[in-house]
């Protein structure tokens, strides 16, 4: 394998990994934008999404098969189910806390994370489940770089979801309301916007994206377990911060940047797999030192 092939292959790897980070990071960033909450339960919503997709695929697999159609349907159904779960979580755990000090709601988010994690732990006895749809090994060769169809499908679905979200936020009534609430909640309320509804929609969309990422990760990597949301939750949060938390294009960019940092970090001599996390988190610190608002974040001015 020549150096160019190696780097090109790592580029593909980084982009695939980055699309996962980006999808999960979007949920962090949207919720932060609208309610100023770091939703630490978001990684676990991703995990629940993977399990929901797994259950759906086992149920409908007999009818539609466990190939592309089956996986596509289970992604869709998992998104809907987990979207509603996100709304329920928000109504039960976060809504009563929205006017409370910022720290209380942060602790609530950690509690929700533990509740989700431990519920799945007890239900599954902590075992690792094999998620094995029949998607085959086929793929395309571009030069010496091999890309299998799963990777292509994954990147396309992730891109479509992100474009859909961008259109939703920039073109629709709800999107406009969402942006308004993120700028000034009290004023939006005075202008007749149903803020509670906007918050619910935000949680629905963020959780649905996490569920899509979770189901795709399960189908792509082939295994799911109750703790799978922890690491990706942490990394997606990092991606959101790198891109500028609160900014939707920032989350997409941050996800891809982090994915690429990890795959190239693994390849760089002197860093390798052992130090790749140190490498990517060092980049996070550097970004925060030199551009505290993240790559695409806007600085907020507080008027006194």
């Amino acid at each position: 394998m020549t150096l160019v092939t190696l780097l090109a292959q790592q580029l593909v790897n980084g982009l695939v990994l980055g699309s996962f980070y980006a999808l999960v990071a979007l949920g962090y960033t949207m919720v932060f934008g609208v309610v100023k909450l770091l939703n630490f339960a978001h990684g676990d919503v991703y995990m629940v999404g993977a399990f929901a997709g797994f259950v759906v695929l086992s149920l409908i697999g007999g009818m539609v098969g466990t190939s592309w159609l089956g996986v596509g349907l289970s992604i869709l159904l998992s998104m809907i189910a987990v979207g509603f779960l996100g709304v329920v979580i928000e109504r039960i755990a976060y809504a009563p806390m929205l006017r409370a000090p910022r720290l209380s709601i942060l602790i609530t988010a950690l509690a929700v994370s533990l509740v989700l994690q431990n519920s799945v732990l007890s239900l599954t006895q902590g075992q690792v489940f094999a998620f094995s749809p029949k998607l085959g090994f086929a793929g395309i060769n571009i030069g010496a770089v091999f890309i299998n169809y799963k990777q292509v499908a994954l990147a396309v679905v992730a891109a479509l979801l992100m474009i859909g979200l961008e259109l939703f936020v920039s073109r629709t009534q709800y999107g406009r309301a969402m942006r308004a609430v993120s700028v000034d909640r009290d004023m939006s309320e005075l202008m007749g916007i149903d803020v509670n509804r906007v918050i619910a929609v935000t949680f629905f969309a963020g959780s649905a994206l996490a569920a899509a990422a979770g189901t795709m990760a399960g189908a792509y990597y082939g295994s799911i377990w109750y703790f799978m949301g922890f690491l990706i939750g942490l990394k997606a949060f990092t991606a959101a911060v790198i891109g500028g938390i609160g900014s939707i294009p920032g989350a997409m960019l941050g996800g891809l940047v982090l994915g690429l940092l990890e795959s190239f970090g693994t390849t760089l001599p002197g860093i390798g797999s052992e130090w790749k996390d140190v490498f990517s988190f060092t980049v996070l610190i550097l970004v925060l030192v030199f551009k505290p608002t993240g790559l695409l974040g806007k600085s907020e001015q507080e008027r006194m």
């Binding site: 292959q9 390849t267 797999s273 996390d277």
Partner: protein, 365 residues
């Protein structure tokens, strides 16, 4: 009423004599295994095997054994909690120990509590210096596993290998021992990688391995990540030989790796399938638990019987006498003979080389 001190002492002495008498003692044994988490199937299997051994021992008498299970979840922190709880629950000895990383910090706790500990699966060489003297390892250590590996790799004429571990006490120990062993034998370790437990995405590491193009890849960590790793390795187009350590020799490995498990070599502790003496054990196990015993069943069954044998020889559960009896043991179990070196490790190597064929492990040629 006031009792003269001497009569109280006499009564106490009498009670003690009765307590250590060789007949009809109720003995509680702690079982430290992961019953939740990614390694729960192994842990449950070990607890089942102890139960099976106890059933037979209780039937034969005169002692009555019962067990207290402590769940270490294969996590060092939780293992410390479980061990502390076990140590204060009136047990006389401990059997078990699956994940080396989770077993290391419990050694001191059981040592301080003067509880003999028969370790039946964990086999990192890091356990040896951490042993305060109360622990006895009846599974061969990483040194023996690497010795077995070197024989195979030499026979196959491999010039370069890649090693992947997860940085925990077990997999890192095995990986560094293998690296040193293979380099000393004149081979090249073309790639040495450490990945995070539960990471899921190995694409970057796999691309790197492919570009180093080694004759074989050796995965030294557990099956919960090993299955997906091997699957992604094959999907990524790696064509060479794949080896996994004894932490990945479960049936679950086949579920997780799918077709990619075909042809994978593993170094395994002796499982019931490959032990003629374990036939009755496997039948009884299947009848009681309605499932076949897994990798560490026979060793753990032996571990419990070994402990009971030592208790009989020591005439009771006095820790000093019991440990001396364990050190002097020459016990013939279903997985082979158990005698200990001065450092409390098994005197012989018990590794067999197996290969994945048709969804199960078979003895490799």
């Amino acid at each position: 009423m006031k009792l003269p001190v001497t009569s109280v002492l006499a009564g106490l002495a009498l009670a003690l004599t009765l307590g250590t008498a060789s007949y009809a003692a109720d003995i509680k044994i702690g079982v430290l295994v992961p019953t939740t988490g990614g390694q729960a199937t192994y842990g449950q299997d070990m607890a089942n095997s102890v139960q099976l051994a106890m059933d037979a021992l209780n039937k034969a008498g005169p002692n009555t054994y019962s067990m207290v299970v402590g769940d270490d979840a294969c996590d060092p922190q939780q293992a410390v909690n479980a061990a502390t709880k076990l140590a204060s629950s009136g047990i006389s000895a401990v059997v078990g120990g699956y994940c080396s990383g989770a077993t290391v910090p419990t050694l001191k706790i059981f040592g301080d509590a003067k509880l003999p500990f028969v370790i039946t699966a964990a086999n990192s060489t890091k356990l040896i210096p951490a042993n305060p003297g109360n622990a006895f390892m009846i599974n061969s250590t990483g040194n023996d596993q690497v010795a077995a590996a070197l024989v195979v790799w030499k026979a196959k004429g491999y010039k370069s290998i890649a090693i992947v571990n997860e940085g925990d006490a077990y997999s890192q120990d095995l990986a560094t021992l293998a690296q040193k062993g293979f380099t000393d034998a004149g081979g090249t370790v073309a790639d040495f990688e450490t990945v995070n437990h539960g990471e899921q995405d190995y694409s970057a590491v796999i691309t790197k391995i492919k570009s180093a193009n080694p004759d074989a890849v050796f995965w030294t960590a557990y099956d919960d990540d090993g299955g997906p790793f091997v699957k992604q390795l094959r999907e990524g187009g790696y064509q060479g030989a794949v080896f996994v350590g004894d932490g990945s020799t479960s049936d679950n490995f086949f579920k997780l790796a799918g077709d990619a498990a075909e042809g994978v070599y593993a170094f395994s502790s002796p499982t019931a399938d490959f032990l003629p003496a374990a036939k009755d054990f496997a039948t009884a196990y299947q009848a009681k638990f309605n499932i076949a015993p897994s990798s560490y069943g026979p060793l753990t069954y032996d571990g419990m019987n070994l402990l009971a044998d030592a208790i009989t020889k020591a005439g009771g559960t006095d820790p000093t006498k019991l440990m001396a009896a364990l050190q002097a043991e020459d016990y013939k179990g279903i997985a082979g003979e158990i005698t200990f070196k001065p450092d409390h490790t098994l005197a012989r190597s018990n590794f067999v080389v197996v290969q994945g064929k048709g969804g199960k492990w078979t003895l490799a040629q």
